[in-house]
């Protein structure tokens, strides 16, 4: 299980990386490589050139700017996992991080790598879709921001041009005083890819009524699914499990979930609803505790 031969470059700058990408259609960026390398080992991916950006200066950071938490693309997942700013301002991401791979893959895997791979079962992808993160790429000299909803376009397919390099993800930090989150996933073993996952974040007013909500389902469909209608329906309400369940079920009735060796479409649809309701419930309870 050895990869097909390739050339290796380690550019000193983003511009150089972009130029290398531009020069070769079959070149690929590598940062942590935790998804790409297995595919290469099985020769399911055969880049002619790897452009290593893992240590590119200025692309590993976590900071707050204008109500958002900006995370540099090559920030390691284990750094995000234990980052105090993420814990304080992006509780949903903080809650999801321990589910990403294993300790050893989080030590190398990056936030940008996971986003660019766009696996619907990936926790960071789900959180970005749920919260409506903004992704920034650089294509040559040009920088462009794109909403997560427009970035994830198909099963492991993104809007990222072949010549572009993802540089940053900005997750909205909710400023309401009472924000709570919930995250659930189901898999065969504790650290496998999820069959289905659900993420929810809600803000409550002092009376425990929802003022804002975001709900997302991962792994059930080719790209993460946002349940905006359900989120809307929560506005002004306290948590009412049966109402939420009905709303979620209605929202999921029309989807066409994936089916594979591990789980049927029916399972994914049904359990997506279960996990969404649980995540929403958790989020309400957590937000209430913050009162």
């Amino acid at each position: 299980m050895k990869p097909a031969p390739f050339e290796y470059s380690r550019p000193a700058s983003l511009d150089e990386a972009c130029a290398l990408l531009k020069a070769d259609d079959s070149a690929r960026l590598i940062a942590g490589g935790q998804t790409l390398v297995p595919l290469m080992a099985m020769r399911l991916a055969r880049p002619t050139r790897l452009i290593d950006i893992a240590r590119l200066p200025g692309l590993a950071y976590i900071h707050e700017q204008g109500g958002e938490i900006a995370i540099g693309a090559i920030t390691k997942q284990h750094v995000v996992e234990s980052d105090p700013l993420v814990r304080a301002k992006l509780p949903l991401l903080a809650m999801a991080m321990p589910h990403v791979g294993h300790t050893a893959t989080r030590a190398r895997g990056t936030v940008g790598g996971s986003l660019a791979n766009a696996d619907s079962a990936a926790e960071i992808v789900l959180v970005a879709a749920t919260l409506g993160a903004t992704l920034r790429w650089r294509d040559g000299g040009e920088a462009r921001d794109i909403a997560a909803a427009d970035f994830f376009v198909g099963p492991m397919v993104t809007a990222l041009p072949q010549t572009a390099c993802l540089v940053e993800a900005r997750f909205p930090a909710w400023s309401e005083p009472h924000v709570g989150v919930g995250f659930h996933e189901i898999n065969a073993r504790a650290s496998d890819f999820a069959f289905v996952s659900a993420a929810a974040q809600v803000a409550l007013d002092a009376e425990g009524r929802c003022t804002r909500a975001a709900i997302g389902i991962g792994a059930a469909t080719a790209i993460p699914l946002r349940l905006d209608g359900v989120a809307q329906s929560l506005h002004g309400a306290r948590f009412d499990e049966s109402k939420v369940r009905d709303a979620v079920k209605a929202a999921l009735a029309g989807i066409e979930p994936m089916a594979d060796l591990h789980a049927s479409a029916a399972y994914r649809r049904r359990v997506a609803a279960t996990l969404a309701v649980r995540a929403i419930g958790d989020a309400f309870r957590a937000a209430a505790r913050r009162s």
């Binding site: 297995p38 290469m40 791979g101 050893a104 030590a107």
Partner: protein, 163 residues
Amino acid sequence: MKVELDINNEKHAVEVEPRMSLLDCLRDKLLLNGAHAGCEHGVCGACTVLIDGAAVRSCLMFAVQADGYAITTIEGLSPGPGELSPIQDAFCETHGMQCGYCTPAMILAAHALLSKNSQPTRDEIVEAISGNICRCTGYAQIVEAIALAAERMRGQNIKTGQP
């Protein structure tokens, strides 16, 4: 390509194809055979080494990417020929292995855990080794070895060793 690797506090200049994994480089070029191939696709953990102190899968990293990091392999843990580190000794004490194939990786994963957390709970130990598959033991004696090592190292105020 030429790459200079810092392994167990020693510099090694090696000539490798870009496609050579760090795992294959350690084994084939440097004859450091303690890292093992179990799957070569990042699931079993048998190839674990420490990169700047963190447990990492050496099959998921190319040797050409590994310069400039402090790499620790199992060969770097023994204090001297025939001598065992506290974690290695604890694995012997509880018989935290059978065939020994996953063992160097388990010990390195334990090392990474204990260097951050000197008093891990059972759940933390289980989590720390959950990316390392052992087919022989059912993990019980491995978990016990790590707990024992933690206890002894706390008692004697021993550091996990280098790095």
